[in-house]
């Protein structure tokens, strides 16, 4: 019988990585629980949850995230579908465009937005509604690499061309092909992209800050300037939101739906 050799180096590097990641988190969590001198309490969290500005920021960011998700899905699903079906040779160009948000610093992007849309003919920063529209389009661009990749990977997992042609030969028009065949088979991919979008928008600071909107990011930054324990509590809440999103992705992609779609 072959006894498996223990790879001590792998364990060492694994442990180091875990320490590197979780130690600051533990430190933040511990600090956030020590607002009351000499005892562990949830006081910092109570203060945060009792602050109306937190809820305003949370509601605003959630709304913006949902709008971002809806617009991203409406833009990227048909675009990626068309690219797969009709112009696969455009992939390299599209891929470069989608990674632009990683290349261009957000601050440059925000200045560009403000300079372009704060003057005629498209003066969008005059009212809160048009500014929100501007900020959502900004979020769509920022979350583009995640949504594009999620949808693209989903499309690669299914035989887009054959499914489309099968649906067409059965009488479906383009809308019916997308609605009945393509989108239902991209459920997991779209959900994954949506959850990453959600996590990105919930923690976004620069756009909301420079466009002066009551999002969660600027609130966290403001709190960080004036308080000690509450920002730590907020950081943990933010982590929890991100991990919740990632957990949901894992849960969905391991469910029966995933097996049904991939056949594995």
């Amino acid at each position: 019988m072959n006894a498996k050799r223990i790879n001590w180096w792998a364990i060492f590097w694994g442990a180091l990585a875990i320490l590197y990641f979780f130690l600051p988190m533990y430190g933040t969590l511990d600090f956030s629980l020590r607002m009351k001198r000499g005892e562990i309490s949830l006081l910092a969290y109570e203060i945060v949850f009792a602050d109306p500005r937190f809820w305003e920021g949370f509601r605003y960011s959630t709304l913006m995230a949902l709008m971002t998700i809806v617009i991203s899905v409406l833009v990227f699903v048909p675009t990626v579908y068309w690219m797969h079906l009709k112009v696969p040779q455009a992939r390299p160009v599209v891929e470069i465009i989608t990674i632009l948000p990683f290349i261009i610093p957000p601050i440059v992007y925000v200045f560009g937005l403000i300079r372009t849309f704060s003057r005629p003919p498209l003066q969008m920063t005059l009212s809160p509604i048009t500014t929100d529209l501007l900020i959502v389009t900004g979020y769509v661009v920022i979350s583009m690499p995640y949504m594009f990749r999620a949808v693209d990977v989903g499309m690669r997992a299914i035989d887009v061309r054959s499914l489309t042609e099968a649906a067409q030969s059965l009488g479906s028009n383009w809308f019916q092909v997308l609605a009945h065949v393509i989108v239902p088979n991209l459920r997991i991919a779209i959900l994954s992209g949506a959850l990453i979008c959600f996590a990105t928008v919930m923690g976004e600071l620069i756009l909301a800050s420079f466009l002066v909107r009551p999002a969660l990011g600027p609130y966290m930054q403001l709190l960080g300037l004036t308080k000690a324990y509450e920002p730590a509590a907020l950081a943990i809440i933010s982590y929890a939101l991100t991990w919740f999103s990632l957990g949901l992705i894992q849960l969905v992609s391991r469910s029966g739906t995933a097996q049904q779609l991939t056949g594995r």
Binding site: D159, A166, Q168, L170, G171, N173, H180, V181, R264
Partner: protein
């Protein structure tokens, strides 16, 4: 009466010609196979009938109605794909009923038709299963039922058995023919497998490099190939370069040996090849038939037949014999005479 008509169909992709002057008239209920090697244009032609490709020029008509530029979803043409293309998010019953749902049929109508189709493919018990829970053969059966459920004017099958293993392929081939005969549906079947085409079809269209080489019944395609390509592509054939002695009578010479061909055209001094199928050759000398002398080069067992290669005047001639127990197989290097009837050979 002509049901499906393809008139002077031409298709180019940039400078590459995929299909050239394709003409075909298909009768109602006929089973036609497009047979040819990869890249010969058979799938492109099928896709033009389905509406997934537009011809560069020419006309496609079903029941006299010009459908050349009609979008695929308006053609009422059923299609079965090599990769099955079942919708993974739908059950078997939902897959089969999808076309009817799109056509706006009532729930009762859909249920009745789905039950009828599942009975036709003998898969009533699988209605609630998802495609991933089925084998390849079962998935292709469902794909067939789905294509037939909408009562299409024409059924198109694009190499539907290519992804299946040999045994399932044979079973499903018979199943497809049974269902096609039962429903009397006009069918176009694309394949590169000559056995499939020969066993299934009423007529075969043999294609090469975008052009039709020959259209005919399986018997005509096999026994009377019109071109050297067809002769070589369908079945095995011996092609021997010969010298014409008497053009009017089809008498030719292979080295020092004289042969008379049963079929020949105008032999205007062009290079001529004698074509004869391996199964038409028999060992031994028979007076009044074509006889050739040679030496056994190799003996190969192919299960039910034994293929003997005989070297005749510097050329190899294949001879197929049934692998009977009493068969006396010559040894490699033995001198061997072979004979074949005049009607069994022709000049190309």
């Amino acid at each position: 009466m002509t049901h499906l008509e393809l008139i002077h169909i031409h298709k180019s992709f940039g400078s590459a010609v995929a299909v050239e002057d394709f003409n075909l008239a298909v009768a109602q209920g006929e089973f036609i196979s497009f047979l040819g090697p990869s890249g010969c244009g058979k799938t492109t032609t099928l896709r033009m009938i389905a509406g997934f490709e537009l011809p560069t020029s020419g006309k496609i008509a079903i029941n006299g109605a010009d459908l050349t530029y009609t979008p695929p979803n308006k053609r009422n043409v059923g299609m079965v794909f090599q990769s099955y293309a079942l919708f993974p998010n739908m059950t078997v019953a939902q897959n089969v009923g999808y076309g009817l749902k799109i056509a706006g049929k009532t729930k009762a109508e859909i249920e009745a038709r789905v039950a009828e189709m599942l009975a036709l493919i003998q898969m009533e018990k699988f209605a609630a299963r998802y495609p991933y829970q089925l084998s390849g053969g079962q998935q292709q059966r469902v794909a067939l039922a789905r294509a037939l459920a909408i009562r299409p004017q024409v059924l198109l099958l694009d190499e539907p058995l290519s992804a299946l293993d040999a045994k399932i392929r044979l079973e499903l081939r018979q199943e497809i023919r049974r269902i096609q005969r039962q429903l009397g549906i006009t069918t176009i079947y694309v394949t590169h497998d000559q056995e499939e085409a020969l066993s299934l079809s009423d007529r075969i269209v043999v294609m090469s490099q975008g052009r039709i080489e020959q259209i005919g019944t399986p018997t005509a395609i096999y026994n009377e190939p019109a071109t050297e390509f067809v002769a070589q592509f369908v079945g095995h054939i011996n092609l021997l370069p010969v010298e014409v002695i008497t053009p009017a009578e089809g008498v030719v010479r292979l080295g020092g040996q004289v042969i008379r061909a049963g079929r020949f055209g105008h032999l205007n001094g062009r290079p001529v090849r004698l074509a004869v199928r391996p199964e038409e050759l028999n060992p031994g000398f028979v007076e009044g038939l074509n006889n050739l002398s040679g030496r056994v080069e190799s003996v190969t067992y192919l299960g039910s037949i034994v293929r003997i290669r005989v070297e005749v005047e510097g050329h190899l001639l294949a001879l197929d014999m049934f692998n009977e127990r009493r068969l006396k197989i010559p040894a490699v290097g033995d001198a061997l005479q072979v004979h074949f009837p005049v009607e069994a050979c022709w000049l190309l």
